[in-house]
């Protein structure tokens, strides 16, 4: 797959000296979904805004489809669609008119057949003559997506597309994103929701305090940084971990009713067989066993905490 978006050493420094982006470098290949995770104020929106032309970068270069966003801004911007974080829509405007406006603004001739296709995909066709103010919050978000797609962009930025929406709508949105990916659109989304990134992204980027801490394949990241835990439920509670089991660094949880063993999935030996044998030798009786994979959220929290330290 070829590179469609390239960000090199991008710095955004405001007049008061605050650096929102500290030399961000990022490469996105065509057709992938990249999720940018980061806490509030991490620089996610600033990064998107700078790429899209809403904010001017202080230094560094950005190219979209090989076009520099400053020197070749027309070509670069024609390739980009942006769904902003806030629901920014004219309340008195009708859905179809606002989508037509967006298409025209990007220099595309009128094509109502294409707009109909998008509005149908987004379940908005029967609302096309409604005024924006008559729509629900979820429908308004769909209108924002329709506007962003109206000029047939190759790269779509979704800035926290599911912030503040209910679970059902969030899942609808994930389906929409999956559909867009299937049609070949490259998607970069920012989110607070780890499960969102886990569910739909191909790669994960973690950004904090204006620095991109890592960008990695989702599965590779989870495998590389993932830890597993084995919980051993006991038939009778313990006051403390027996000395014979000290080498396993077990935690006593559930008021002494369970032992928790953390192990590395990448290790050649997990130590589980030995542990279970030693537990039997120690005369402890087990009532149940369960394992738990660390989530992306655990990884994210760990990374951000590490960066803060």
């Amino acid at each position: 797959m070829s590179e469609i978006l390239s960000v090199r050493d991008l710095v955004k420094r405001y007049d008061d000296g605050f650096e929102a982006l500290k030399g961000v470098t990022l490469s996105i290949v065509q057709g992938e979904i990249l999720a940018l995770l980061g806490p509030n104020g991490a620089g996610k929106t600033t990064l998107i805004s700078t790429i899209c032309g809403i904010t001017e970068g202080t230094s560094g270069t950005v190219t979209v489809g090989g076009h520099d966003i400053v020197k070749g801004y027309r070509e670069a911007r024609r390739m980009i669609g942006l769904v902003p974080q806030e629901i920014n829509l004219e309340p008195f405007e009708r859905v179809i008119n606002t989508v037509r406006f967006s298409r025209g603004l990007f220099g595309k001739p009128k094509d109502d057949a294409y707009l109909e296709k998008i509005l149908r995909q987004l379940s908005l066709w029967d609302k096309k003559d409604n005024r924006i103010m008559e729509l629900s919050g979820g429908m308004k978000r769909r209108v924002l997506i329709a506007k962003a797609l109206s000029h047939e962009p190759e790269v779509l930025f979704l800035d926290e597309p599911t912030a503040g929406v209910d679970v059902e709508l969030r899942k609808d949105m994930w389906e929409i994103v999956a559909g867009l990916k299937a049609s070949g659109t490259t998607i970069i989304l920012t989110t607070h929701y780890i499960e969102e990134a886990e569910a739909i992204a191909d790669r994960i980027g973690v950004i904090a305090k204006g620095e991109l801490l890592l960008v990695e394949e989702k599965q590779a990241l989870m495998t590389r940084m993932g830890q597993k835990q084995l919980q051993i439920d006991l038939s009778a509670p313990l006051d403390g971990v027996p000395d014979s089991l000290a080498k396993y660094e077990l935690e006593l949880v559930r008021d002494g009713n369970a032992l928790l063993y953390t192990y590395d999935t990448r290790a050649e030996r997990t130590g589980i067989t030995g542990l279970l044998a030693d537990i039997a030798k120690a005369g402890l009786s087990m009532s149940d066993l369960q394992t738990k994979q660390s989530s992306l959220e655990d990884i994210f929290v760990g990374l951000v905490a590490e960066d803060a330290a």
Binding site: I54, R77, L89, E90, P91, F101, L105, F106, K108
Partner: protein
């Protein structure tokens, strides 16, 4: 040039105007009629003629200019301020358009609306007074130039304004007094000499004088000076708008 974008901005802005077409039409008709009742019948009956023109007819150019200037400013300032206020400006900033295309779209629509109002007032005036236009092409040219230049000025106000109060501040505190004191309803020759001199510092005097010349062939200041004033004002506004987009002042972070 992204003509498609210009057309989109223009038609989108005009759609707002057409949504409230009746108000847009009725409002200037009523206000013009009121001006004629107050200035034409009540006060005008005590004023015989001004430079050989009946007072009722004399105030028509001033009346048109007053509305055209205020409408151009309010339409253009609101046109660009509203997207800023509700956040839809992001779309303009991320679109493949340059400042000239944005300005042509917004200012073109605002100027068209102001021109429409000007023509409505002119037509309404013809119902009240016997109106003769000596230089119709010059009259249209003056009106179009005024619509464009004041729409540009309104566009700048719309970008400068950070709330609705500021949006009204310049039109109410600066433009309206300048228009009223700029000879809309009187010839500056009717003023005492010292006030005549002071009035010449009011730029609106040159616009109204030139416009009145196109109706009656008489002017308070030479017509060339009027043309120069309006051309200078337009150029000044263009430079200011160019600078705003170049620096991103109050629109781009």
């Amino acid at each position: 040039m992204n003509w498609q974008a210009i057309r989109s901005i223009y038609t989108f802005e005009m759609a707002r105007f057409f949504r409230t077409l009746m108000q847009s039409f009725i409002s200037p008709v009523i206000s013009t009629s009121l001006y004629f009742v107050v200035f034409g019948a009540a006060i005008g009956s005590r004023i015989d003629q001004v430079d050989g023109v009946s007072y009722g007819a004399f105030i028509v150019p001033g009346l048109i200019m007053l509305s055209v200037m205020t409408q151009a400013i309010s339409n253009a300032s609101f046109g660009i301020y509203f997207p800023k206020f509700i956040g839809t400006i992001y779309e303009l900033l991320s679109a493949p358009v340059n400042f000239l295309e944005i300005v042509i779209g917004y200012v073109g629509a605002a100027a068209t609306k102001a021109l429409f109002i000007g023509i409505v007032i002119l037509a309404t005036s013809a119902l009240f007074v016997d109106l003769q236009i000596q230089h119709p092409f010059a009259m249209m040219a003056f009106m179009v130039l005024t619509c464009v230049s004041f729409s540009l000025f309104g566009f700048i106000i719309g970008i400068w304004a950070q709330n609705f109060e500021q949006l009204q501040l310049i039109p109410l505190l600066v433009v309206t007094p300048l228009v009223f004191l700029g000879g809309s309803f009187y010839s500056i020759s009717m003023l005492p000499p010292i006030w005549q001199t002071i009035t010449l510092f009011n730029p609106v005097v040159y616009l109204i004088s030139g416009f009145r010349w196109s109706f009656f062939g008489m002017a308070d200041v030479p017509i060339g000076l009027s043309l120069l004033a309006i051309a200078g004002f337009t150029a000044l506004c263009m430079v200011a708008v160019w600078w705003i987009f170049k620096t991103g002042w109050r629109i781009r972070k």
